[in-house]
């Protein structure tokens, strides 16, 4: 507890490049950029594969591979190969880890739609894309949102680890604190990251409640 009071009470942590708001915004920026990129790849691909049924092998393989790949190793390797001159290479592993949960859940969501519902939509004269966007997507939305939430939480956690290879953000407090044996900074940073992850989790849970059509109240879960 004393560590926390020291950390948050220290004026050095409220001004300059290492200020808490600055680090928070950095963390938010990297995480948001990675999540948006991953969503731009994962959602269209998941919709396409789910709707056409072609390429489901990609989904299974990417889901398994993504869980097995060690984040830290990927970060280290990318930075060693591409250098630390720019911070953008660090985004590659973040995006690579965020795509699979989004892709898999979008795919599962579209695949899991009741075939009778799909047939009814075709029977009413809707075309392929119309069926996809007017019927399948709203019904699959809970799972799409779950995928985004899992990806977001993972990106926030991985961005903290990425401080080790030079990324800014809240992870810096942990990595720099460990290096200088400044434990109050380590604890303060840890609490900030945990709070940040929980806020992200809460925000996405809320967004899901607001966005999902009340007609679609099934509770589906896929991890």
């Amino acid at each position: 507890m004393n560590w926390l009071i020291d950390f948050f009470g220290n004026p050095d942590n409220w001004s300059g490049p290492g200020a808490i708001p600055v680090r928070l915004l950095e963390h938010l920026g990297f995480s948001a950029a990675a999540l948006v990129l991953a969503a731009l790849i994962g959602i269209p691909l998941g919709l396409l594969i789910g709707h056409t049924g072609k390429g489901s092998v990609i989904v299974v393989v990417s889901a398994n591979l993504a869980r097995a790949l060690p984040t830290l190793g990927l970060l280290v390797l990318i930075v060693l190969l591409l250098g630390t001159a720019s911070i953008w290479p660090v985004l590659i592993p973040l995006v690579a880890l965020a795509v699979p949960p989004i892709l898999v859940n979008t795919f599962e969501g579209i695949r899991g739609v009741d075939p009778e519902l799909r047939d009814a939509a075709y029977g009413m004269g809707l075309r392929g894309p119309q069926v996809l966007f007017k019927v399948l997507v709203p019904v699959a939305l809970p799972l799409v949102m779950l995928g985004l939430r899992l990806a977001a939480v993972q990106v926030v956690a991985t961005a903290a680890v990425a401080a080790y290879v030079g990324l800014g953000g809240l992870g810096r407090y942990i990595i720099d604190g460990l290096a200088t044996q400044d434990y109050e900074s380590v604890v303060g940073g840890s609490v900030l990251i945990v709070g940040f992850a929980l806020a992200v989790q809460g925000l996405f849970t809320l967004a899901q409640k607001v966005m999902v059509s009340p007609g679609v109240s099934q509770r589906l879960r896929v991890r």
Partner: protein, 225 residues
């Protein structure tokens, strides 16, 4: 290290495979297996009674599942740090958070698995005079096995890959190869670490899959007929 280093140096693997150093690959592999296996086993042992309690007393499930959702969202690195004052820089610092992640996946898996038991099967068992305990052990749990083990596969694989983050506190098993690679600007340990961890995850996944085939022989019989 010169700029023109090759992507991968086999000689490094050979000289570091089984030396006396605590950082030889064999020793790191052993540490890695222990730190990823203990959470999986502990998680399974705790999640079974916890999941069954949630099935028996439905009102427990809502709050339990809310807690599990929150736990699953907690990032591993800060959790390690917050545990250090209690556990020091030991393996326990890595094992405890991983056990909680295992619980977060396995408790819902146990509940869903029990939910996958068809009602008519349960009623048949009651009608045949099975006591609740025998019904649980001989009828319900075997039917729940595929769903529980699906969760166990997820836990095994993610646990094996998550251990490597522990390298930042010196307890990462094969993950220590990553910090080593970064400090020395040397590709080979990073690549060797990634490959070995992915292989280890595949082996772990394969073992759970084999267990599932052994525990549910009727699934194979159905497919063969």
């Amino acid at each position: 290290m010169d700029d023109e280093q090759p992507l991968f140096r086999w000689s490094w693997v050979e000289s570091n495979w089984n030396s006396d150093s605590p950082n030889s690959i064999v020793n790191l592999l052993e540490a890695h297996v222990v730190m990823s296996l203990v959470p999986v086993v502990l998680g399974l042992l705790v999640s079974l009674p916890l999941g069954l309690a949630c099935v028996r007393w439905r009102f427990l499930y809502q709050p339990t599942s809310a807690v599990m959702n929150v736990i699953y969202a907690l990032p591993s690195l800060p959790l390690f740090m917050l545990l250090i004052p209690q556990t020091g820089l030991t393996r326990m610092t890595v094992i405890i958070p991983l056990t909680f992640y295992a619980l977060a996946v396995l408790v819902p898996a146990v509940v869903d698995g029990m939910g996958s038991v068809p009602d008519h099967v349960r009623q048949s068992a009651v009608a045949m005079g099975f006591t609740p305990l025998r019904r649980l052990v001989q009828v319900e749990l075997p039917i729940a096995v595929p769903v529980v083990l699906a969760g166990l596969r997820v836990v095994t694989v993610s646990s094996i890959s998550l251990v490597s983050v522990g390298a930042l506190i010196g307890q990462g098993g094969l993950g220590n190869l990553f910090t080593d690679a970064f400090q020395r600007d040397f590709y080979t340990p990073a690549i060797a670490g990634i490959v070995l961890i992915v292989l280890l995850a595949l082996v772990g996944d394969g073992i759970v899959l084999a267990a599932q085939r052994l525990l549910t022989p009727w699934m194979r019989a159905r497919r063969a007929s």
